[in-house]
Symmetry: C2
Subunit: 165 residues, 2 copies
Amino acid sequence: MALLRLKPLPLTAERFAPYGDVIAAPAAHGASMNAARFDRYTNLARVDADTDAGISIVRSRTPTELPHRFDLVERHPLGSQAFIPLGGFPFIVVVGPPGESIDPADLRAFVTNGSQGVNYHRGTWHMPLIALADGQQFLVVDRASGDGNCEERHFEQAIVLERPA
Amino acid sequence: MALLRLKPLPLTAERFAPYGDVIAAPAAHGASMNAARFDRYTNLARVDADTDAGISIVRSRTPTELPHRFDLVERHPLGSQAFIPLGGFPFIVVVGPPGESIDPADLRAFVTNGSQGVNYHRGTWHMPLIALADGQQFLVVDRASGDGNCEERHFEQAIVLERPA
């Protein structure tokens, strides 16, 4: 069986809609806030959790080089999970549609433009987060307790995540 | 009556504890995540809301110069409100203890170190957000609906927010 290879496409809200939300402010003006000192882009994503949600930070300790082989995806059945880069850098996500099972052929890879964050909807399959450089920080907004909130699937054959075009 | 002047002190978790949480990752290693690819600093703040919470972005349209005179503070009785800078820049907050009333003499001003975010606890009085430069973006995590969630107090005399030391 030939190796399954995934080449990341540029992330857009349309492409990502089956899996979650893209968190980014458009260039156009948003709603005026605080005596017009700010443009506000409200509820780019909803925080979905069956109990309290928390705000966390993760920082890259060991960056991942592409191409990257992986054989594991996970999903969170009890809430959404958002990752927002703190500092403006691109990152890569691999996602699959929610559901009990996941066929590797249904996985899709996306690369962000440096200012985009993502919010995985409850149940969306995804590759565990990787970072392309050391020290990169992501803000995470998800269910405060991880108890019972992570299902994993191991594939028989590794998938090759390639460099973006 | 002499003008009340506030000089921002460097923000620390200890100083901010009566008002909310400081959202920042310490330099030391955190919990290992994703096969030790990341350090994770979990639940630096809790998302507190009586209904759904949302993730928004605000972008500075008109920066504020210091010294800055203000005569208005607000609080959110139905949930917490977090502001996290996207890109590493300092900002200034003015806060007062939760409660029905607020005495201007109880206000405190803090300046962040560029990587810190803040989470106002439910009911904490605060000056509406200002930014020190154009185009700065903050991630906001708060109650998705603003209905009934903003109380304002106008002071008879303006307060002068000075430059940090």
